[in-house]
């Protein structure tokens, strides 16, 4: 055996030798070689160091929230009807019926191509998650609307130090002061109300928990009319396919399909926002994922709920997550452009809340925040928007207030990193939203009655 060959052979088992797991015969052979080979001894030293370094890598502690998160996910699957089919299809089955109804509801489609530009405006620091406490709680007082003031939004962003709004505290803290003719009696007999239901803060966790628990409720509710599994696992029909075809593919009964068809035009619509190739946003950041997002209301048994639907132009797997931080969870996976991902009403949950929804595919992502009013107000738009004055409130705060107090459902595309200094006079909720959006640089796209999609304006 030549010297090189002996070294090569020795080298192959050197790590085992260093670890002490070689059988005695092989071990003796290695030691004989090592005694006369300086190079292999150096190799042994190096390998020993490497093995020691590998074993010094300690396991990382498990995040506390992970086990409950996994257990919740498993419970959802446990509650799902069993049957053959693809793994994800089985997971999706529990909400098949609700999803099918949601799919029925989307009948309009109006893609609006636009190019996405990242809004770089001070206030990004305020962009703590939508469900984090913002410290800005609206206080409702019953002040009559200023006579002669323009209904809607009166932005005052240029004002370096905004005037104190109606002499009420909170102007410097960026809080909003809302006065809602629509929400309280005009005679002032009602004391100021803290709209608990209007708080976006801390609702993220609640919301997610609701969604998690709600999934099983949804199954219970829909269990009476079980939908075949192909409701979601079947290839999705083209976007412009008829409602009837959708109901067929979703396995709905013939009786329920016409009913949904009837109600759909009244309560839902959809607008697709196509994000074109992005501008140069950053060096490392890839362009945002082009996503077609739709939001609609689903009416069933006299109750309204929200359904969302996302389609990506990427053919890769698309993942939709909901919530953030420890409450973040994957809600759907599926092909990006062949089968739109539909979030059922139960998954989206009932408001009021501001919930982060992230769509990821092919290494790119796009995020939205869904602002919703209370469940009871879904589909019911207030006759008049509240009076509000904001002194540097975050966009999320303003949109959240608007949704909670007027009944609007708003799906806003991130980033929402602008801040507001401005006043909203009583007017229609839509005019208020348009004013807000104009100031935010967002484009308002109506999706149906009281439903709006906000996308970045060109």
């Amino acid at each position: 055996m030549s010297f090189d060959r002996a070294c090569r052979k020795n080298r192959e088992i050197l790590p085992e030798y260093a670890e002490g797991s070689l059988p005695p015969s092989a071990r003796a052979q290695v030691e004989r070689h090592l005694a006369g080979c300086l190079q292999c001894r150096a190799e042994l030293r190096d390998v020993t160091i490497v093995i020691g370094a590998l074993r010094a890598v300690e396991p990382e502690p498990l995040p506390e929230y992970l086990v409950p998160r996994v257990q919740r996910a498993v419970h959802r699957t446990m509650n799902a009807p069993t049957g053959a089919g693809h793994f994800w299809a089985r997971i999706s089955v529990p909400v098949a019926l609700v999803t099918a109804v949601a799919a029925l509801a989307f009948i309009l489609k109006a893609p609006l191509p636009r190019s996405f530009t990242k809004v770089a405006v001070p206030g990004a620091a305020e962009s703590a998650s939508t469900t984090q406490p913002s410290g800005e709680k609206p206080s409702l007082t019953k002040q009559p609307g200023a006579p002669g003031s323009r209904p809607g939004w009166a932005p005052k962003r240029a004002a370096p130090s905004p005037p104190p709004p109606f002499g009420l505290p909170g102007a410097s803290g960026g809080g909003g002061v809302l006065t809602s003719p629509a929400l309280g009696p005009a005679n002032g007999s009602k004391p100021p109300v803290q709209p608990e239901e209007a708080k976006p803060e801390a609702l993220g966790q609640q919301q997610t928990a609701q969604a998690g628990a709600g999934a099983s409720e949804g199954r219970a509710a829909t269990g009476k009319t079980p939908a075949p599994e192909q409701g979601l696992s079947a290839p999705a029909p083209p976007k412009d396919e008829s409602v009837a075809a959708r109901s067929a593919s979703a396995g709905l009964s013939a009786a329920s399909a016409p009913q949904a068809e009837q109600s759909a035009p009244a309560v839902t619509s959809e607008v697709a926002s196509q994000a074109a190739a992005p501008a140069a946003v950053g060096k490392k950041q890839p362009p945002p994922l082009p996503v077609s997002a739709r939001v609609g209301l689903v009416q069933k048994n006299g109750r309204s709920s929200i359904a969302l639907r996302f389609s990506a132009t990427s053919s890769r797997e698309m993942k939709v997550t909901i919530g953030y931080g420890s409450a973040r969870r994957i809600i759907r996976r599926g092909p990006g452009n062949t089968a739109p991902i539909v979030l059922s009403a139960k998954e989206v949950g009932a408001g009021p809340t501001a919930i982060l929804i992230s769509v990821q595919s092919g290494g790119r992502s796009r995020s939205y925040i869904l602002f919703t009013p209370t469940a009871a107000r879904l589909g019911e738009i207030a006759p008049e928007s509240p009076r509000a004055t904001y002194a540097g409130a975050s966009a999320k705060k303003v949109l959240s207030d608007l949704a909670a107090l007027t009944g609007l459902v708003i799906l806003a595309e991130k980033p929402l990193d602008k801040t507001f200094v401005g006043e909203m006079s009583p007017g229609t909720p839509v005019s208020a939203l348009e004013g807000v959006s104009a100031d935010l640089g967002l484009k308002v796209q109506p999706q149906g009655k009281a439903i709006y999609l906000l996308t970045a304006a060109q």
């Binding site: 020691g52 590998l54 992970l66």
Partner: protein, 231 residues
């Protein structure tokens, strides 16, 4: 050309033998095994609590396996969820031919490997993007290393230990897939050759051979950092 190794004489190489692999993650007694077997049997019949117990029991190992394979904490969390969901869905097909942990490790490794492949195809990963949206710090290796236990050491020791971990983890990520899996399972997770062979559905000899090659490859990858690692 031979290198001069001043700190390593002939008499020393025997003392460098590192001994057996690190402690097993779970030292199981017969009673433990029986308990786990009972849990699996109950879970197979749809017992939610039993599967919850299995999740609690094995989540740390599955998480660390996924973390080392993917290199991303967020990705690892998703992998844990996926792995247990897949395990749950396939639980009826588990017939006890191998230990439940082995079977679960196989599922988890497949999930994590798939995730790592996707991550490799998309260098700027979804998790990094999501970090902006979710207001979470990016789950990169640096943070992973930061979270490792430090003990009561001075800042320099902690810093060096962190540098060593980072260096090693980075090198592991550069290994070919099959070598990386063996190194993670054996050196980081502390599994035996036999268990790894069962997980990878291969022979023990193949596992040993891959492990040796992986360590030699690591030695080459870490050639410039050996002094740091030797510390």
């Amino acid at each position: 050309m031979f290198r001069h190794i001043p700190t390593f004489g002939e008499a020393q190489y025997n003392t460098l033998v590192t001994g057996p692999a690190k402690d097993r993650p779970i030292q199981l007694t017969q009673a433990d095994l029986a308990h786990i077997g009972a849990l699996v049997a109950r879970a197979q019949k749809g017992d939610r609590e039993a599967f919850d117990s299995l999740v609690e029991l094995y989540a740390p190992q599955v998480y660390n396996l996924a973390l080392r394979v993917t290199g991303s904490r967020e990705e690892a969390e998703d992998c844990v969820q996926d792995a247990f969901l897949r395990a749950f869905c396939a639980l009826r097909s588990f017939r006890g031919e191998a230990a439940f942990s082995t079977w679960l490790y196989r599922v988890a490794l497949n999930v994590a490997t798939d995730a790592a492949r996707k991550r490799a195809r998309n260098p700027i990963s979804a998790s990094e993007l999501a970090s902006d949206d979710a207001d979470e710090p990016p789950p990169d290796l640096e943070r992973v290393a930061d979270k490792a236990p430090t003990g009561d050491h001075g800042p320099e020791v902690v810093f060096l230990a962190k540098q060593r971990r980072l260096t090693v983890l980075k090198a592991i990520r550069q290994l070919p897939e099959h070598q990386r899996a063996v190194v993670i399972l054996y050196d980081l997770q502390g599994l035996s050759y036999e268990e790894i062979a069962q997980i990878l559905r291969t022979r023990v000899g193949t596992v040993k051979s891959r492990l040796n090659r992986a360590r030699l490859a690591l030695r080459d990858l870490l050639a410039a950092d050996l002094e740091l690692l030797h510390g």
